[in-house]
Structures are given as structure tokens and as C-alpha cells.
């Protein structure tokens, strides 16, 4: 079981490395969206500092949506998803491997680029650190919840729009607590992280099972 997990994880990362555009598109989309706000709003330090956390999170949500559509679609089209279903391994476990790969390729780069973004918005050092930590806990939740939506809309025409409508409302708690964590002082940050952590544990438990069930239906 462990071997199958790492095999699939490695496969998805190898595939992404050979087809780099997908990963880079997400990252540059994030950078561009975040950079547009200072240009539109103006460079007043106070406004930007207030706006910063929210903008970073909204951009992260949209960026993670961007790659979601392809999460299962490519495997669906070439038949490898069918083979995964018949592999004799728990499908939810394989889904988790795919979600992990998705996060490593689209979520982790956002965490790493956050300090650069923070500087655009005049965030303090501690605020940048909190942003990175919040993104580190929050972006896996986005990938996990997104996987359910991607599985549900698999094979549908115009699934992309439907996927956004389905998933974005579910992202709201992560958005609220993620950006909230950055906005409060460092002392008050703990409850936000507890809640984000709870979301992460909950989605880790249930999202792979739900996605696996949706995939079985999609392949009928």
C-alpha cells in the first residue's frame, strides 16, 4: 500500500516536471493577481497593509482552483484512472497520493513565494511568518476539498465553471481563518491555527473517501 502511494506520488511529480507549464502557470497566476492590487489601489502603506492578507488568500484560492480541473482529467482521458480503480489498492489512498502531489506542486510554491508577496504589501516580518504558516496549514485543505469537486465534475462539459461554483463556497472557512490569522496580533493567533488545523484533519479524513466515491460514479 505504501509502495503504491509513493509510486503514484512520484509519478505525478515526474509528470509535472516533464510538463512544467502547468505548475508555472499556477505560480505566475498567483504572483500576477497579487501584484495587480497595489497597482489598482495605489501604494498607500496603510491600505495595502490592511488589504494584504485577504488578497494573498483570495489569490491562493483562485490559483489552487486553476490546476484542480486537471487533477483527475488527464488520468481520466488516457485511461490510467480506470486502471487505478482496478488496481486492487484502496482508491481513497491513491486519491490521497494524487492530492499530495497536487499540493506539493501548487500549494507549496505559494507558501515559499509568500515572503516576496508580503513585501509588496508592507507586511511586517512576523506577519509574513504567520502568512507562511497559515498558508502551510491552509493550502492542503484547499487541495483536499478541491479534489472532491474535481472528482464530481469529472467528464462534464464546462466542468471548470461548475467546479468553481461548487468549491469556492467550501473554501470560505479557510479564507476567513487564514486571512484572520494574519490580521490579528501575534498573541491572538493561536485559535486561528487550531481551527485551520481542525479543518486540515477533517478534510484529510473525509475528502479522499468522498473523492473516491465520486470517481467511481464518474467512471460508470
Amino acid at each position: 500500500m505504501g509502495r503504491a502511494f509513493f509510486c503514484l506520488l512520484r509519478r505525478d511529480i515526474t509528470l509535472a516536471m516533464r510538463r512544467r507549464t502547468d505548475v508555472l502557470t499556477t505560480l505566475f497566476f498567483f504572483i500576477i493577481v497579487v501584484s495587480l492590487f497595489p497597482l489598482g489601489v495605489g501604494s498607500e502603506q496603510e491600505i495595502l497593509r490592511k488589504l494584504g492578507p485577504g488578497v494573498v488568500w483570495v489569490a491562493a484560492l483562485l490559483a489552487s482552483m486553476l490546476a484542480l480541473e486537471r487533477l483527475f482529467a488527464a488520468d481520466y482521458e488516457d485511461g490510467t484512472l480506470e486502471q487505478m480503480l482496478l488496481a486492487g489498492q484502496p482508491l481513497s489512498w491513491l486519491v490521497l497520493a494524487k492530492v499530495c502531489a497536487h499540493w506539493l506542486l501548487t500549494g507549496l510554491p505559494l507558501v515559499l513565494i509568500a515572503p516576496l508577496i508580503g513585501m509588496q504589501y508592507y507586511l511586517s516580518e512576523t506577519a509574513i511568518l504567520v502568512t507562511m504558516l497559515a498558508l502551510l496549514v491552509g493550502t492542503p485543505v484547499l487541495s483536499l476539498i478541491g479534489a472532491i469537486g474535481a472528482a464530481l465534475t469529472l467528464g462534464l462539459r464546462g466542468g471548470g465553471i461548475l467546479l468553481s461554483l461548487l468549491i469556492l463556497p467550501l473554501y470560505v472557512p479557510v479564507l476567513i481563518y487564514g486571512s484572520g490569522a494574519v490580521a490579528v496580533e501575534l498573541d491572538g493567533v493561536q485559535p486561528f491555527f487550531y481551527l485551520l488545523g481542525a479543518f486540515l484533519v477533517l478534510s484529510l479524513l473525509f475528502a479522499p473517501i468522498a473523492s473516491a466515491a465520486a470517481l467511481r460514479i464518474a467512471l460508470e
Binding site: 485511461g79 488496481a87 467512471l219
Partner: protein
């Protein structure tokens, strides 16, 4: 060889098939009163000696591996087929025939558990495949219309991944050998998107060489293959059946077997 042939005639396989034919006759009477053929006609013939492990034991031969009872499938509003039933013992090849759109692929997908039939049961070693779940899938190899290979990965990488996912602990040397056997010598390290349609199919079919699954379900495996590859695939299937494996396949081509038994299932348009 001749003495083996004699052994086969007395085997229980023929008996099983007879029972089956009888059951189908029953169905036909129920469904249609006229001379018209029923939804599924079952024909069985044997093409040589059945050689399989435990073949000397008469009891073993009667053991049903895959049993399908009164299966009916529907796609949307259209009923594809109904009252399909058969039993397969080790060392049997089931050739599913029928015109385009009669539900051959749907039947095969139902056999794999990828499609939920409208009614009927499918048993593997006496247990419902829905309940067996992954346990059943470990003993199953499905080859569908899609090759199931990644075009960015090389042939050897594709084969290694599918072998690992299937849980077959296969040595790397065996994987290279399997590709060589499929006539892909020198192409193992190329991304499969550089290969031709037929070569891609060969990469996908290399799974058959390394797989230890007793049940093969093959949907039109001969399309896009050249003469050599068709012959090779026929040998692979014949070897599998000879080892006591089961194969269910749809094709518009005949598969000559060196041993074992061929059963035919004709699907006709539903009503």
C-alpha cells in the same frame, strides 16, 4: 498430445457448458415464444486439450471461478441486454461477440465492477464481486479501449508504475524482458508520445506479460496491432489459458488456442 485430448473430452467443462446452454434455453422460452433467438445465445466448443494445474483432478475442473447470473444492463433508456448468464472454469476463454452497440464493452465493464448492472449477480470464486472489492481487483487485469499509459513517461516507467499499482512484486529485469518480448527493444526509454499507435498499444499490453492475475478481461485488444503483434497477443492469451487462467474478450477476430476451451457468447440487440 492425443491422450490429453482424450482426457479433455471426459472433463467437466463440457458438462458445465451444457448446463449453461440448458439454462439459456429456459430463458429463451421465457422471453420469446417464437423462433427468434433470445437476447444471449451461448455456444461452446473446445479446441484442444485442456492443460492446467490440477488438471488430473476431476473435481478441480468443475470449480467455477467466475459466475454471472441473469445479468441485465441498461444505458440510459436503452436496455442493452438481459438474462445473460455463464460460468467459467479455469482454463476457459470466453469470446463475447455481437454487432456494434450490443453492449459488449458494457458487459466487460460490468464484469470488472466498473459498471453497475441493472440486475443480476457476478460472483468470483463464489462471492459477489461488490463485496470482494479490491480483493477481486487484485486478481483481475482489465484492458479497455484506452491504453492507460502516460504519454510523457517512457515505456519502462509506464510498465513499472502499473506493475507497482497492481501489487505485483516484479523485478526490473522482468519488466525490460516483457517490453523486449512485445517487440519494443530499443524503444523502452522513449516517451510513449514518440511511439506509434501500435507501439503504444504494445507498451500497454506488456502488462499481460508481467501480470499474475488469473482473470483477464480484454476489450478489443487486437485493434491497431500489426500482424506480428496480433500473433504475439494470441500466443499470450493461449499461454494464459494454458496456465489455467481465465480470459474474457471481445474481438472481431478469431483467437486460435493451443489448449483449453473456447466459449462463445453472442449478444444481440435488446428490445
Amino acid at each position: 498430445m492425443p491422450d490429453m485430448r482424450r482426457g479433455r473430452t471426459a472433463s467437466g467443462c463440457a458438462k458445465g457448458a451444457e448446463r449453461l446452454r440448458f439454462r439459456d434455453c429456459d430463458q429463451r422460452i421465457q422471453v420469446s415464444s417464437s423462433q427468434q433467438p433470445g437476447p444471449a445465445i451461448f455456444v461452446s466448443d473446445t479446441l484442444g486439450p485442456a492443460v492446467r494445474p490440477g488438471g488430473r483432478n476431476g473435481q478441480q475442473r468443475l470449480f467455477t471461478m467466475l459466475e454471472v447470473v441473469d445479468l441485465a444492463c441498461r444505458r440510459g433508456d436503452r436496455r442493452l441486454f438481459s438474462a445473460v448468464g455463464f460460468r467459467l472454469e479455469p482454463g476457459v476463454l470466453l469470446h463475447v461477440r455481437g454487432r456494434n452497440g450490443t453492449g459488449k464493452t458494457t458487459l466487460l465493464r460490468a464484469l470488472c465492477g466498473l459498471f453497475t448492472p441493472e440486475q443480476g449477480r457476478i460472483h468470483w470464486r463464489g462471492e459477489d464481486i461488490r463485496e470482494l472489492g479490491d480483493e477481486y481487483h487484485r486478481e483481475l487485469l482489465f484492458f479497455g479501449h484506452l491504453n492507460g499509459i502516460k504519454s510523457e513517461l517512457t515505456g519502462i516507467e509506464n510498465l513499472r508504475i502499473s506493475a507497482t499499482l497492481d501489487g505485483d512484486g516484479v523485478e526490473d529485469a522482468d519488466l525490460w524482458q516483457a517490453l523486449a518480448r512485445m517487440g519494443l527493444d530499443g524503444f523502452e526509454d522513449l516517451p510513449t508520445k514518440m511511439l506509434s499507435q501500435g507501439q503504444k498499444k504494445r507498451v500497454a499490453l506488456a502488462r499481460l506479460v508481467v501480470s499474475g492475475a488469473p482473470l483477464w478481461v480484454l476489450d478489443e485488444p487486437f485493434t491497431a496491432l500489426d500482424v506480428d503483434a496480433v500473433a504475439l497477443l494470441q500466443v499470450l492469451i493461449a499461454e494464459h489459458v494454458e496456465r489455467g487462467g481465465l480470459a474474457v474478450l471481445t474481438t472481431h477476430q478469431e483467437v486460435p488456442l493451443t489448449s483449453g476451451q473456447v466459449q462463445r457468447l453472442d449478444l444481440e440487440f435488446g428490445y
